[in-house]
């Protein structure tokens, strides 16, 4: 392996970008493909499948044998709002392989007693996200119902290209939200990415069921995301 390739790969991991190290086993030649890029001699379909599944393995392409080592950043969920749904979501997310953290400036909600063992910050999202920004492998779930708290992280998620953005609220609430986001400079295409009403439509009723609907929605967004050049 060339040291230059190793440095590129470590740099991609540091920047939380998805990358595949492709090694030609006959020649030992190694190349790096970042998500959205193509490589000569390897079909875009092969790269897309690997990026979506996150699975490393051997592939045969046009008679050549390649090893694909897939490096996808660990996906995380940032929840805005320390509410009942968040409690259920915090319990389920680790089982599905997601790191989760909760941000809510309302200290009455953000109590360690209600969120034992969960990363919880009782502060304004704009302050917390400044030090720990959102990115393409982060899902943003806004569930406070309060525009003062939800709107900033929603705009931030649209701008950084979070793979999933969901906001709790009725269609009426969301219509008002759309107007505010437009005023904040978001385009229609960006706003259309928001899952609202939040979660898969499974008729969820209780906080626990809504958490399941949200988690399913997040998994679908991650595993079916558009890979760019490969799709």
């Amino acid at each position: 392996m060339r040291i230059e390739t190793l440095k590129q790969l470590n740099e991609a991991k540091r920047a939380r970008r998805a990358a595949i190290l492709v090694t030609d086993l006959a020649t030992s030649e190694d190349r790096l493909a970042l998500e959205g890029e193509t490589l000569a001699g390897v079909s875009p379909d092969t790269l897309t499948k690997a990026f979506l599944s996150g699975k490393s393995g051997l592939v045969e392409d046009e008679g050549r044998s390649f090893f694909l080592n897939v490096h996808v950043p660990p996906p995380r969920i940032v929840v805005i709002g320390a509410v009942h749904i968040s409690q259920a979501l915090a319990a389920m997310a680790p089982a599905a392989g997601f790191d989760l953290e909760i941000i809510d400036p309302r200290t009455a909600f953000a109590t360690p007693e209600r969120f034992s063992g969960v990363k919880l910050t009782a502060d304004w999202p704009e302050d917390v996200l400044k030090d720990n920004p959102l990115d393409a492998f982060t899902a943003l779930v806004a569930v406070t119902h309060d525009p003062k708290i939800d709107d900033y992280p929603l705009v931030s998620a649209l701008k950084t290209g979070c793979f999933y953005i969901g906001a709790l609220g009725s269609r009426k609430t969301h219509a008002k939200r759309v107007e505010r986001l437009k005023e904040a400079g978001c385009t229609d295409a960006q706003i259309a990415r928001i899952s609202a009403p939040i979660g898969l439509d499974i008729g969820a009723s209780t906080p626990g069921e809504i958490a399941v609907a949200i988690l399913g929605d997040i998994i679908q967004a991650l595993r079916k995301r558009a890979i760019g050049a490969g799709t």
């Binding site: 392996m1 440095k7 030992s28 699975k55 090893f67």
Partner: protein, 109 residues
């Protein structure tokens, strides 16, 4: 919490060792059959002195991989290794779990 700050990552260690001027080989699990303890893509990094980090099995074949890695560092030629119960080396370094693995060893140059 942040994997970026994970100093146990063999790939970061490989880069660090190279920067220190050490000879480095990288071993990677590229195929597994049956119950292999480490998934495809796992790494073991080895330096010219036999220091190592990471793992390609539950500890059963690391010794053999390190020996091969020293040869790879010397020759510069990559090598494909296979371990498992079907292999005649099973008695010495076989996987106790009954699985089989293929490990690719290459020099970082």
């Amino acid at each position: 919490m942040n994997d970026i700050a994970n100093f146990d990552d063999p790939l970061l260690i490989a880069e660090g060792w190279k920067n220190e001027g050490r000879d480095v080989a990288l071993a990677t699990v590229i195929e597994t059959w049956g119950s292999a303890p480490r998934p495809v893509g796992s790494h073991l990094v080895i330096d010219g002195e036999g220091n190592f980090h990471g793992s390609v099995s539950g500890g059963c074949v690391e010794g053999a991989v390190i020996t091969e890695a020293m040869d790879v560092i010397g020759s510069g030629n990559s090598r494909m290794l296979e371990f498992g119960v079907a292999d005649e080396t099973a008695w010495r370094v076989g996987l106790s779990c009954g699985g089989r693995i293929r490990v690719y060893v290459e020099k970082v140059a």
